[in-house]
């Protein structure tokens, strides 16, 4: 399962990381109990500072999406919210419509973010 960050993007890197991991958890691609890579491993692979990755993990932990246990690493926390099929289909339709309009993923996310705020 891949995650990609762009350090030139206006979105902070820790936020890009947080968003992508959160999305994988919400979609069920990262199942409950799945172990996330250690902070230093992810930081090394993405050539980021461990502090940046730690910030994303802290935010995910605060949101109750992951739990860190001493000796057991960081794992996906049990959750009560799941994305149902309808919401998935709506997201697919939104992405498709965006592509037709020639919008990139970041622009589509920005559009959603603007609406959300």
């Amino acid at each position: 399962m891949l995650i990609t960050v762009d350090v030139t993007s206006p979105i902070p890197v820790f936020e890009q990381l947080r968003e992508q991991i959160a999305a994988q958890i919400m979609l069920g691609a990262l199942p409950v109990g799945e172990r996330l890579p250690p902070i230093r491993q992810l930081a090394s692979d993405l050539a980021l500072s461990p502090g940046t990755v730690a910030r994303s993990y802290t935010a995910l932990e605060a949101a109750g999406m992951i739990v860190t246990m001493r000796g057991q690493g960081t794992r996906v926390a049990p959750r009560d919210r799941v994305i149902d099929a309808d919401l998935n289909a709506t997201a697919d339709a939104y992405l498709q419509a965006g592509r037709k309009s020639g919008l990139g993923l970041n622009e589509l996310i920005a559009l959603l973010r603007a609406r959300h705020h």
Binding site: T4, T8, S9, P38, D45, A47, L48, L105, N106
Partner: protein, 294 residues
């Protein structure tokens, strides 16, 4: 011998620095490994040099140098930076697969290491328990007493050599532990977890084979030294010929183990340069970054 090791070390250092000029994702690993092997050769050179300059140390540096030198080299491997990593793309991808140290160690490698470690310990115990003190009181002689006569031969691998050799074992364990931990944390050179795991396993195998080399050097020294015991035994025996044959065989085995260690070292160095093949060519595919997707 010292000069050969020294030249070998310099050649590896030259190789190591040439890797820093290359842009391949494998270059930092090549550089790091060749530098580590060079450090190992330099410590061995130091061991031989000390042995030559201080004969009063009775060959002790030769017993300590392989283990201590490799432990030092492994720690250098785990702490050195990626000098060759120059250009980092602003768009980076990583896999969320968790890597563990254990996943890179094959069962056969673990078994081989355990057997060699146990072998060294058994030899040290055997040597220590059968040794006797020499004129200076060091346990590095083998004495035989019989029918009013006695004979002693030295150097014999008693406690004098065995204890320092045993002390290098925890150092080696520490060295390999930090080095394998470093292998786990090295930046991925491909986003394909299977290829990445193959590359890391291959790297771990090279590191483990260097530990085998150090253990083999110790074993070779001990085995070679055991042949000494047959000199006093032969001198007291009615028919010394079979004992002298056994002595020659034991010396040959010790020598063969030493040569095997050299062969393993050369094989490890060659394996370092085969990583590209492990990756099935240059498969460093990176997905289309989200921010650039149109």
């Amino acid at each position: 011998m010292s000069m050969t090791l020294f030249i070998g070390g310099w050649l590896l250092i030259a190789f190591s620095s040439s890797f820093q000029l290359r842009s391949s994702p494998l270059s930092p690993t090549y550089g790091r490994l060749t530098f580590m092997l060079a450090e190992f050769l330099f410590v061995l050179t130091l061991g031989f040099g000390l042995h030559d300059q201080h004969p009063e140390w009775l060959g002790l540096p030769l017993f300590i140098a392989p283990g201590a030198g490799l432990a030092f080299a492994l720690i250098i491997f785990s702490t050195s930076g990626d000098g060759g990593r120059k250009k980092i793309s602003p768009v980076r991808s990583a896999n969320l697969t968790t890597r563990t140290v254990g996943s890179y160690l094959s069962r056969s490698s673990r078994r081989k290491l355990a057997l060699l470690t146990a072998g060294v310990m058994v030899l040290v115990l055997l040597g220590g328990l059968t040794s006797s003190p020499d004129d200076s009181g060091f346990h590095r002689a083998f004495s035989v007493h019989g029918a009013g006569r006695s004979a002693t031969a030295s150097p014999y691998p008693g406690w004098f050599y065995g204890v320092p050799l045993l002390l290098t074992l925890p150092l080696l364990a520490l060295g390999i532990w930090v080095a394998l931990r470093r292998v786990r944390l090295l930046p991925a050179i491909t986003t394909d977890p299977a290829s990445d795991a193959r590359w890391r396993a291959s790297l771990a195998e090279v590191l483990l084979s260097t530990v085998e080399i150090a253990l083999l050097c110790g074993t070779a020294g001990m085995v070679f030294g055991f042949a000494t015991a047959f000199s006093p035994l032969a001198s007291l025996s009615q028919d010394p010929a079979p004992l002298l044959v056994v002595q020659a065989v034991i010396r040959a085995v010790g020598l063969a183990l030493g040569i095997w260690a050299v062969v393993l070292f050369i094989r490890s160095t060659i394996r370092v340069f085969r990583f590209r093949r492990v990756l099935d060519g240059r498969n460093y595919s990176v997905p289309i970054p989200a921010s650039r997707e149109r």
